[in-house]
Symmetry: C2
Amino acid sequence: MDDKVLSIKNLIERKGYKFTKQKRVILEELIKSNTHLNSKQIYDKVKDRKIGLATVYRTLSLFSEIGIVKEINIDGVSYYELKMYSKKPLHIHFQCVKCNSIIDIDDNNLNLQYLKICREIENKNNVDIYDIDIMLVGICDKCKKAYC
Amino acid sequence: MDDKVLSIKNLIERKGYKFTKQKRVILEELIKSNTHLNSKQIYDKVKDRKIGLATVYRTLSLFSEIGIVKEINIDGVSYYELKMYSKKPLHIHFQCVKCNSIIDIDDNNLNLQYLKICREIENKNNVDIYDIDIMLVGICDKCKKAYC
DNA sequence: CTTGATGCAAAGGATTTGCACAAAT
DNA sequence: ATTTGTGCAAATCCTTTGCATCAAG
């Protein structure tokens, strides 16, 4: 079994849940695709393997709870992305208003700047920050070019 | 009529829509409450004045479209807050995982820092950023104290 | 009058839940 | 055997829509 799958299997079992065939199939799809997928999209990929929609929902919310995936909500729909192996508490997404595509913004320097600002917020407001979601909305590179 | 209401009335009419009693009532509730309200909460405040739920939804999406309110989505539900008179493209919200309350974080210095980072992202990725939503998740002041 | 806005109820889409059955320990 | 997970269908929640009616210009 793949290293990633194995270590996540261990995590799931350590938390007291069974690592079933369904969880494995869904996990493998998440690893394979490495973008944000919603429950319906994942269901479409796995339904031929006799996995029900409810199981997809239940599995994703379990994965989310124990920190295997990160959930982001776009226009009322939950999307999930693998969190392990990039376990920063920071997620910057860019959504294009023209083509609706969602781009990940990832840059070490930016991440550092954001984390610094967060520490400032923690101190000023006496809160603990566990997780940071940043959603930027605008026009993407492609659409900018297409509208010249 | 209140200054705020009047200038928003003008905006609505300039866009070619009628400033009806329903729109006024909903607008006044938004001005009064100055927090994030979802459609249901607004409906509860105005239903006694014979305003239907569909009208609340239609009004809020119109308001959102012409930039009177800003929509933020929390756990699959849309919340709205007045955007006028604070027309920064930046919104920092903090959600507490214990009590689920949502706090606005507003600080000029922070805002400047964020806007600077955004300019960096725009340059590096060749995108235009219109709007920035930042959602911080963690433990709030009150809940920190309550769990000592 | 004519057009756009509203209220209601019905429809829609995403997600959750109840329950009987299957799988695992 | 006992517990946990699954599949299906029904239920639920939020939101949108169709349509007859109302209101404003």
